[in-house]
């Protein structure tokens, strides 16, 4: 795995509809937050990694050039990493590789998005080529609806049970968002409200879906020497995994979802994790859709295939359960996409360093963070620990 690497500080903007700031000023808000948190200055940074969704989201190409000033990247190596929804985890991986390789001691990673300035579903649909798939894929919700149906059919899970479990996830995450000062949607919802909300793409209803958020997240990755020198509490990177599959949605199985399974396996092998539900203390699973979150639990080995709705309803993955998932409220309540995966990483780092505030999972020592990108095509994992 190369040299040991740790996260030594994270900064987030307040996420939401941020028409009060220009895009570069939004990015700077997160960058300033991480410098304030760590006491570091731009002079200390060896290189900068940044990333977003496709440029059509805000209509400005190569945004890492646009944000060079906001990220204080002039005079330093800069790199953009772009893997659709998994961008944030890929940014973290890129920064990690840079430090692990010995090429840098301190790297600033920044993820950002302003989804309210453009048309998010129209942007995402451009990921599908315009002569076959684009006619049939109705943005992200369409893809996830088909996937959740296939999952339901494969394991013959009663629709009512899945519906109840998805509603339970929505209620608990919306409650958790109240404990996260940076979360976008802060709204109490009931099981009945979720189950009777407007249909977006059946079976997905409005309260099963993430919002369009504006926001940015900045994270500083450090070498072991630098961790010692700075004397900051580290969140060590214990494992990274990333896997993809074929481009066409119909070419691979999205229930026994190999990119998710293998990405997790790669990270578990590095971290020495054999029983993730027992060994992990908390997980920040990328969950733009309630139904899909349960499928991820199964792909990541948190439970057996088809078993997740039962365990969700038992509270296994709730804040006080055996493996709390998304105590931040997750992507379901906050989704500035280019930042979202990095927010998962940042939240995992906050948890293992005991800095997650009101949504801290007591004594969390080992955390999983995750993001998914493309038309169900790529999955990325980063595992963080309080010990190396």
């Amino acid at each position: 795995m190369g040299r040991p690497v740790a996260i030594i500080g994270v900064g987030q903007t307040k996420h939401g509809r941020r028409m009060d700031v220009s895009y570069p000023d939004l990015v700077r808000e997160a960058v300033m937050a991480v410098f304030n948190e760590t006491g570091l200055t731009p002079d200390d940074i060896d290189g900068v990694v940044s990333g977003t969704m496709p440029s059509m989201m805000e209509g400005i190409a190569l945004t890492h050039f646009y944000f060079a000033d906001a990220m204080q990247a002039a005079g330093k190596p800069i790199m953009k990493t772009e893997t659709c929804g998994s961008t944030g985890v890929s940014i973290a991986h890129t920064a990690y590789y840079w430090v692990a390789s010995g090429m840098a001691d301190l790297v600033l990673a920044v993820g950002h998005e302003k989804m309210n300035e453009g048309n998010s579903q129209a942007t995402m649909t451009t990921v599908a080529e315009p002569f076959y798939q684009r006619y049939f894929i109705s943005g992200a919700p369409g893809v996830f609806s088909m996937q959740s149906q296939m999952w339901m059919d494969r394991y013959a899970i009663p629709e009512e049970k899945i519906r109840d479990a998805a509603a339970f996830i929505s209620v608990t995450h919306h409650d958790s968002a109240f404990d996260n000062p940076y979360a976008h949607i802060k709204m109490r919802v009931t099981m009945d409200e979720v189950k009777n909300a407007r249909i977006i793409t059946y079976p997905v209803r409005l309260l099963d879906v993430c919002p369009n958020s504006d926001g940015a997240c900045a994270v500083i990755f450090a070498s072991k020497d630098m961790v010692k020198k700075l004397g900051r509490k580290p969140a060590w990177i214990r494992g990274v995994g990333y896997r993809g599959e074929e481009y066409f949605f119909g070419d691979s199985d999205k229930v026994v979802w190999e990119s998710a399974i293998q990405a997790a396996k790669q990270a578990y092998d590095q971290a020495g994790i054999k029983n993730p539900r027992k060994e992990l203390d908390v997980a920040e699973v990328y969950n733009p859709f309630t139904f899909q979150e349960m499928l991820f639990y199964e792909c990541f080995g948190f439970c057996e295939p088809g078993e997740s709705p039962d365990l969700v309803l038992k509270g296994t993955f709730s804040r006080k359960g055996e493996l709390p998932c998304d105590p931040s409220g997750g992507t379901l309540c906050t989704n500035p996409i280019g930042a979202t995966g990095l927010i998962r990483v940042a939240e995992a780092a906050l948890q293992v360093t005991g800095k997650a505030g009101d949504h801290q999972v007591p004594k969390a020592k080992l955390a999983l963070s995750h993001a998914m990108g493309g038309v169900d095509q790529f999955n990325g994992i980063m595992i963080l620990g309080s010990k190396l």
Binding site: R18, D20, N119, A122, Y132, S145, E246, Y247, G250
Partner: protein
């Protein structure tokens, strides 16, 4: 955090493109014009891939054996869509569908149709995963993916 006193600018980017199909897609779309759905078979893993491909995405070898595949298949998953976004190429409501055509080894993406799509509760009574479906052709075929109007329940 709603902006009250700060202004915004409205802007737009419009760029024309002409994308090359190449030999394989050209032949596939010519096939649709003649009411034929072409797949290609991988010589290494023997999977029949549809739409036709120039190479197998798993084996990375040329997929040169052309197969006119069945126009009948099984509905694997479907998604009733009744919202619209800028540039959406298909007019809602529509049912995006994954269909396993008989004798093929991947799921083909297209539409379900041939019944009233306006009332979701009625749609739900008709459309069931696992049902047999058949391609319905447009009378005005242009060598385009929409030369198949939709798949209808059998």
């Amino acid at each position: 955090m709603e902006a009250k006193e700060y202004k915004t600018i409205k802007t737009e980017i419009r760029l024309p493109y002409e994308l090359a199909y190449g030999a394989t897609w050209t032949r596939f779309f010519e096939g649709l014009k003649n009411k034929t759905i072409f797949g290609t078979k991988c010589t290494k893993c023997d999977r029949v891939l549809v739409p036709a491909r120039s190479f197998c995405p798993r084996c990375f070898v040329d997929a040169e054996e052309w197969v006119a595949v069945s126009q009948v298949g099984t509905l694997i998953a479907w998604c009733y869509t009744n919202y619209k976004y800028f540039g959406m190429p298909t007019e809602p409501p529509f049912i995006g569908s994954l269909i396993r055509l008989n004798g093929t080894d991947v799921n083909f993406l297209h539409l379900m149709g041939g019944f009233d799509l306006n009332n979701f509760d009625e749609v739900k009574k008709i459309v069931k995963s696992g049902m047999k479906v058949e391609a319905v052709w447009s009378d005005d075929r242009k060598g385009h993916i929409m030369d198949i109007k939709y798949f209808r329940p059998l």
